[in-house]
Subunit: 154 residues, 3 copies
Amino acid sequence: MPSSVEARLAELGLTLVEPSAPAANYVPYVVSGSLVFVSGQISQDANGPIRGKLGADMDAEAGAAAARTCGLALIAQARAAAGGDLDRIKRVVKLLGLVNSTPDFTDQPKVVNGCSDLLVAAFGDRGRHARSAVGAPSLPLGAAVEIEGIFELG
Amino acid sequence: MPSSVEARLAELGLTLVEPSAPAANYVPYVVSGSLVFVSGQISQDANGPIRGKLGADMDAEAGAAAARTCGLALIAQARAAAGGDLDRIKRVVKLLGLVNSTPDFTDQPKVVNGCSDLLVAAFGDRGRHARSAVGAPSLPLGAAVEIEGIFELG
Amino acid sequence: MPSSVEARLAELGLTLVEPSAPAANYVPYVVSGSLVFVSGQISQDANGPIRGKLGADMDAEAGAAAARTCGLALIAQARAAAGGDLDRIKRVVKLLGLVNSTPDFTDQPKVVNGCSDLLVAAFGDRGRHARSAVGAPSLPLGAAVEIEGIFELG
């Protein structure tokens, strides 16, 4: 039976994919006490990385759509950390959102909202989180956005 | 009765303002166990954001003054998280300080010291924290500095 | 008697130096509950900071070597936090790796692998960690890499 979180995602037309494991000496998440630390998730869809630089070749709306895919990946990792049951996630604690930006792009919050809004749509009030949204001059694979997250297990 | 932390701030001529809530799907802080995760606070004063780019139109001293306003905002959020009583803050745990920088500005630590020094002035030894100070190509609203923090509740 | 971690480092020809204390109002690490938050460690060796900008004057291989020195410094700080006994470190929890990058450098993961690989060489499976690897336009002292870490005490 899907969790209530996945039911809400389904209403949005979204399904979680099985997260792939990193091909290196790090892991997608680590559980320490009740906290789940999830590795930075770059913007990507079925076609691969969503590339772009805000202020140059991508606008804030497209950036928010890219950030939303980071959110979906974070939820997929949180589900794995919770043994498959997202209803065991008590709270989304914190996000650090890095937006691939030119030196004069200043709308990082609008971009990261794409992820924040998805988390609240999926988790309701327990999806509300602390966060920082900042610029980065470049990100892995040229991704538009990378977001890491901390979740709390219930 | 003001906390001893606020008494020290008053000696410095500083008062905490009531922090405003973000107008988005995130919150100023989340408490998880004994940890308080405070959202990134941009440099600002009563006139709005303190904008600037270190290495271009702002020097390290002005950057440190901007970082100090981030520190004041972090303390205000910590006070709210502690139910209004800053003496319940056992420790400032960690800061991540992002400094709006040109590619050749390398004095990020001097800038973030403006925040670190304020925290130690306010909290004494329990204000000493782990931290990272790094450059960012751009920050929300063109702010000169953004700093997020983790505090521990006693 | 050296810890098993230090024995593994010795096999790699590496020894930990006594970490120096920051000359400012922050500290190298803070222990909160079972978590150790270690301040950002810049790339450096016996000759001082390892400077460079990836995409300009340093390639990914040299960047990975620089990141490895960040890893060695993180382990030295973790040892101090564990009262000198690295076998008390239960787990490396998380890294945030910032790579001094031009706007078109996108191999931050290869660079930060220099640190991740060392941690797994030193700690074995408990060295596997969550992480983010991102670009920064500039770092303190012109360092090529800065990495902060969270460890768990056993």
